[in-house]
Amino acid sequence: MASALTVWERRRQRLRERAIEFVLLVAAASSVFVTLAIVAVLIYESLGFFSSVPITDFLFGTVWTPLFSNPQYGILPLLGGTLLSTFVALLFVAPIGLVTAVYLSEFASPRVREIIKPILELLSGVPTVVYGFFALLFMTPLLQTFIPNLPGFNILSAGIVIGIMIIPYVASLSEDAMRAVPNNLRDGSLAMGATRLETAVRVVLPAAISGVAAAFILGISRAVGETMIVAIAAGQQPNLTLDPREPAATITAYIVQVALGDLPHGSLAYQTIFAAGLVLLLLTLVFNIAGFWLRHKFREVY
C-alpha cells in the first residue's frame, strides 16, 4: 500500500504517539504520588510529634487529653472508640448482609435482584453527614425507647448507622462472590436431592468464602475510616470503654474536632491529628491488604 505520509510526517506522528503515551503514564503514576504524598505528610508531621512525646506513651497511654493544660497523649481511648464502633457496625451488618446476600444470590428471581441491588447500593451513596443526622435524631431516640438511660451521644447508635451504611459493601459484594460460583456446582448439589438452602449454605457459600470474607473486610475498613457519623452522634470525649451505650470519641472524630478549632500550624496539638491519622491509615491498610489478598486467592479458585 502506498502511504500518503512523507517521512517527516511519519516521524512527527511517531513523536506524537510517544508524547501521548508519556502523558498517560504520568497520569497513571500520579496515583502513586498521591499515596507517597499521604505517607510522607503523615510521617513528617508525626515525627515532629514523636520528638516531643515518647512513642510508648502514645501507644500504651490510656488517657488522651492533648488540648488540656496538662496534656496526655495515649491513643488507646481513641483507638478503642474506633474499634468499638466498628465492632457494633459489624455485629449489626454481619447477619443482615450475609442473609441478604444468600437470599439475593440463591433465592430471589433475577428480576427482583436487578431492582433490589441498585436500591441497596444507594445506601453507600448517601452523604455521611445525612447519616450522622439520622443517627443523632432518629436512631438514638428510637434506641432510647428500649434503653431508657441511653445518653444523647453514644457509640451504639453511631455503630448501627455505620452498619446500615456498609450493607451494600457486605451484601452486594458477597452476592457477587456467590454468583461467581459456577452453576455446575449448584446442579451437582441439587441433583443429589439437596434443597436450595442446603445448596446455598453447604456448597455455594463455602466455595465463595474468600470473596465473602473480602467483602466483610472491605466493609470493616470503611467502618474504621468513617468520620461524620461518629463525629455527630458518638460524642467527642475520649473514653476508654467497652460499653457501646456510652459516648466515646474515635480517631476520626478527634481529627474533626481539632480541625474545627483553629490550632496554630506546627503546634504539638496540630501534630497530634497527623499521628492519629497515621494510626488510622495503618489500621485500614491492614484490612485493605487482607481484603486484596483474599480477593486474589478467590479469583484463583475457578
Binding site: 500500500m1 506522528q13 504517539e17 503515551e21 502523558v23 498517560l24 497520569a27 497513571a28 503514576a29 496515583s31 502513586v32 498521591v34 499515596t35 504524598a37 499521604i38 505528610v41 503523615l42 443482615i96 448482609g97 442473609v99 441478604t100 444468600v102 437470599y103 439475593l104 433465592f107 433490589i116 436500591i119 441497596l120 444507594l122 445506601l123 451513596g125 448517601v126 452523604p127 455521611t128 453527614v129 445525612v130 443526622f133 439520622f134 432518629f138 450493607i167 451494600p168 451484601a171 436431592g193 436450595r196 472491605l218 475498613s221 475510616g225 461524620m228 455527630i232 476520626t252 481529627i255 474533626v256 480541625a259 483553629d262 491529628i273 491519622g277 485500614t284 491498610l285 485493605n288 486484596f292
Partner: protein, 319 residues
C-alpha cells in the same frame, strides 16, 4: 409411591421413602421456608432504613424548603438562614474537582488498560490504585492540610478543596474507565489496527467512544461521592459561616474571565448541614434536615442517572 430396594447390600437403598426420610424432609423444607422469610426480612431492613432516613429528613426539613432557603445566606436566626453560599460553594468546588479529577482519572485508566506493559511498575500502580480506594477520606483531608494548605500555600480555598476531592475520587474514575475500556471487544481494535491506525488513533477514535457510557457512569458516581464528602473539607478548615459569595468568574472588564474565586474561602452543602446539626435547638436541626434533603435529592438524581446508564449499557453490550 412404592419403592423396592435395589441395592444388593440394601443398606441405604430405598430410604427415600421411609418415614424417617419423609419426616426429615418436612423439617428441611420448613427450614427453607423460614430462611426465605428471614431473607426477605434482612433484605427489607436495608430498604426500610433507606426509607426511614428519607421520611425522617423530609418530615423535619421539607417545611424549610422555600425559595428563600436557596437565596439566603446563613444567619444566626434559624428561620432566616439559607444555603446560598453553600450550594454556590458546592458547585464551584465540584467544578474544580471534575476539571482535575476526570481527565487525570480517565488518562490513568486508559494507560493501565491500553498501554501499560505487564511489568512490576504496572503492578505497583494497580495495587496502589486499589489501596488508594480504601484510604479513609479524612486522611485525604490531612494530606491537603499538610501539603496544600501549608506546604504549597494554596490556603483554605475552593481550589484546595476541589483538588483534594479530585484525588479522593481518582480511584473511582480509574476503575470505572478501565472496566469500560475492557468491555470494548478486541475485534474493534483489530479492525482499526487492520486499516493502519496508530495506537492513539485506535484509542481515540474507536475504543474511547465505545467506552463513554461506562466512563460517564464512573464519573457521575465519583462526582456524587465528592458532593457528599464532609470530613476532608472540615479537615482543611472549610468555614461554615460564610455570608458572601466568591467573586464572579465572569466580569464586565477585560479579560472578562477571572480566577480570583479559586482562592476564596468557601463552604459547601454538607458542611453547612454539619454545622446546623451540631447546634442545639430544633430550628437549626430543621435547617440541617432541609440541607440534607437537598443533598439527598442530588445524590438520588446522580445515582439514578448512573443506574440508567449502566442499565442501557448492559442492554447494548451484546455486540
Amino acid at each position: 409411591m412404592s419403592i423396592t430396594s435395589t441395592l444388593t447390600d440394601g443398606r441405604v437403598a430405598g430410604r427415600a421413602a421411609d418415614s424417617e426420610f419423609v419426616r426429615r424432609l418436612k423439617r428441611r423444607r420448613t427450614n427453607e421456608t423460614v430462611f426465605i422469610c428471614l431473607g426477605l426480612a434482612a433484605t427489607s431492613i436495608g430498604l426500610i432504613a433507606l426509607a426511614a432516613l428519607m421520611i425522617d429528613l423530609a418530615a423535619s426539613g421539607y417545611p424549610r424548603l422555600t425559595a428563600d432557603f436557596f437565596t439566603n445566606f446563613p444567619s444566626r436566626r434559624a428561620g432566616q438562614a439559607g444555603i446560598l453560599s453553600a450550594w454556590v460553594g458546592s458547585l464551584l468546588v465540584i467544578s474544580v474537582t471534575a476539571f482535575i479529577g476526570v481527565p487525570l482519572g480517565v488518562a490513568a485508566g486508559i494507560y493501565l488498560e491500553e498501554y501499560a506493559p505487564k511489568n512490576i511498575w504496572t503492578n505497583i500502580i494497580e495495587i496502589n490504585v486499589s489501596n488508594l480506594a480504601g484510604v479513609p477520606s479524612i486522611v485525604f483531608g490531612l494530606l491537603a492540610l499538610g501539603l496544600f494548605v501549608y506546604g504549597f500555600g494554596t490556603g483554605r480555598s475552593i481550589f484546595t478543596a476541589g483538588l483534594t476531592l479530585a484525588l479522593l475520587i481518582l480511584p473511582i474514575i480509574i476503575v470505572a474507565t478501565r472496566e469500560a475500556i475492557r468491555a470494548v471487544p478486541w475485534s474493534l481494535r483489530e479492525a482499526a489496527y487492520g486499516v493502519g491506525a496508530t495506537k492513539w488513533q485506535v484509542t481515540q477514535d474507536h475504543v474511547l467512544p465505545a467506552a463513554v457510557p461506562g466512563v460517564l457512569t464512573g464519573v457521575i458516581i465519583g462526582i456524587s461521592r465528592a458532593l457528599g464528602e464532609t470530613a476532608p473539607l472540615v479537615t482543611i478548615g472549610a468555614l461554615s459561616f460564610i455570608a458572601f459569595l466568591p467573586p464572579s468568574p465572569v466580569s464586565a472588564d477585560f479579560p472578562f474571565i477571572s480566577f480570583a474565586w479559586l482562592f476564596e474561602g468557601f463552604t459547601v452543602l454538607p458542611i453547612q448541614a454539619f454545622n446546623w446539626v451540631s447546634r442545639p435547638g430544633d430550628d437549626f436541626q430543621s435547617n440541617a434536615a432541609a440541607a440534607g434533603l437537598v443533598l439527598m435529592a442530588i445524590t438520588l438524581v446522580l445515582n439514578g442517572v448512573a443506574i440508567y446508564f449502566r442499565y442501557r449499557l448492559r442492554k447494548k453490550l451484546q455486540w
